[in-house]
């Protein structure tokens, strides 16, 4: 022990004491152990060290990157996915839901059309199916405008019309009513997914008609709705062919 330890300045002596400590030599095989340690580190350790060390720097950055990627993916997904919106089916106008005629309904039962078709050689699907719409006395079809007009109409007009109905079984309709029926039929064609090709006006001999095409699978539905407008007579019978997709129809309007 140092006998001449300076008690007056212990800090200085401590410094001298520490500086007198001998250095500790490294083990003789130190270099070899360092090499062994360098080689020992696996690829996985290198990857982990590269990805995660230092933790306090890399981990927050990687988390932020993951969150940003997630937000970006959600954004892309929402942009690409088409939004499915339930469009409510347009309701048919009140007038189309008019009472069905009391006469027995004609069912569009599928029977052979060859015997009925005017052109025996022609394929049934090529010929438009003629459907005549006949208004009976129980049908009350009025356009929106006519509703207001007839409210104030004198009873005698109604009686005349009623007489005419009784005599012929059909009712004569005004231009406005014809327009209303025509528009209703066109709406019906559109509703079943078909299209109106042409509208023929009254030429004297021929009644006004609407030429249209409707999907074959909606034909029966179309007929059912059409019968709500009046009596329906069809010149040819519809046959359901497996490959038929479109049916041509010609609706003869009441004159």
């Amino acid at each position: 022990m140092p006998e001449n330890f300076n008690r007056q300045n212990p800090e200085e002596e401590i410094k001298n004491l520490l500086s007198s400590l001998k250095a500790k030599p490294a083990p003789k095989d130190f270099l070899e152990t360092v090499h062994a340690r360098l080689e020992k580190r696996s690829i996985l350790q290198n990857i982990i060290a590269a990805l995660f060390l230092p933790l306090n720097v890399k981990l927050p950055l990687e988390l932020a990157g993951a969150v940003a990627t997630l937000i970006f993916m959600i954004f892309i997904f929402n942009s690409v996915t088409p939004q499915i919106v339930n469009v409510p089916q347009p309701k048919l106008p009140k007038l189309l839901a008019a009472k069905a005629p009391a006469q027995p309904k004609i069912k569009a039962a599928p029977i052979l059309a060859a015997a009925m078709s005017p052109k025996p050689n022609a394929s049934p699907v090529d010929q438009p199916i003629e459907i005549a719409l006949v208004l009976t006395d129980e049908d009350q079809i009025q356009s929106e405008g006519e509703l207001a007009e007839e409210k104030g109409a004198p009873p005698s007009n109604l009686a005349t019309i009623s007489t005419a109905k009784t005599a012929a079984g059909t009712v004569s309709i005004s231009d406005k009513q014809a327009l209303s029926i025509s528009s209703q039929i066109q709406n019906l064609v559109n509703l079943v997914g078909g299209k109106v090709n042409s509208i023929e006006s009254n030429t004297g001999n021929q009644p006004p008609a609407i030429n249209a095409e409707i999907p074959a699978d909606k034909f029966e539905l179309f007929l059912k709705e059409l019968k709500k407008l009046g009596k329906v007579n069809s010149s040819a019978q519809y046959i359901s062919l497996p490959n038929t997709k479109i049916v041509k129809i010609k609706i003869l309007l009441p004159q």
């Binding site: 022990m1 004491l17 520490l18 400590l21 030599p25 490294a26 130190f30 270099l31 340690r37």
Partner: protein, 203 residues
């Protein structure tokens, strides 16, 4: 100072050679600094096994980072920095602190020996040997025990300053402390050691 500059230049040349692809030059760096690094780690940890492990770890880190070393500071300063940080991390690790706690509990039975004025690290050696060497070993062990009890920052600066003999500005670069902080921590560490070693090294 001249010696230092020459040393730094030599180091810079070796580092440049390594960065140019001469990986074998790393062995020369290890051989040059292994004793210094090992001794530093020993003073930090107080035991040879830990010192060996941390010294190896230091050189592994040097090897992996040497390509990116920008040579703004001297290589020795950078090496000291890595060694000191590695040791501080280990000192602060839960596993090490838990292990030290267990050792302290085991060592409680020797407190009675200390109270009877028997040096704690008395190493009875039945073989005949130089008394001076034995005395030095004992003194070394007692001083190391006192250093181990210092707080980490004080321990770092006192080892770099009084044991390794580094200048204040170098200690500032290694530790990142301000100059005033380094000086005050050194003074504080010395006074703590003086209190702890009273009655063991001197009466």
């Amino acid at each position: 100072m001249e010696c230092n500059d020459k040393n730094n230049q030599a180091d810079a040349q070796m580092v440049a050679a390594f960065q140019n692809g001469d990986v074998g030059i790393f062995d020369q760096l290890v051989l040059k600094y292994q004793d210094i690094v090992y001794s530093l780690c020993y003073r930090f940890m107080g035991e040879a096994e830990e010192a060996d492990d941390l010294a190896q770890e230091t050189f592994v880190k040097v090897f992996r980072s040497l390509k990116k070393f920008r040579r703004e500071a001297a290589f020795s300063t950078w090496l000291y920095q890595i060694a000191a940080n590695t040791c501080k991390s280990r000192l602060g690790s839960l596993a090490f602190r838990f292990r030290k706690k267990l050792v302290r509990i085991e060592a409680l039975k020797t407190e009675a020996d200390l109270a009877q004025d028997i040096p704690r690290f008395e190493l009875p050696d039945p073989r005949p040997g130089p008394a001076q060497a034995l005395e030095e070993n004992e003194r070394d062990a007692i001083v190391q025990k006192a250093i181990n009890r210092l707080p980490p920052d004080q321990k770092t600066v006192i080892i770099l300053s009084d044991i390794e003999g580094l200048a204040y500005d170098e200690i500032v670069k290694i530790t990142g402390f301000k100059l005033g902080t380094v000086k005050s921590k050194i003074a504080r560490a010395r006074s703590q050691l003086a209190i702890m070693l009273k009655g063991k090294i001197y009466a």
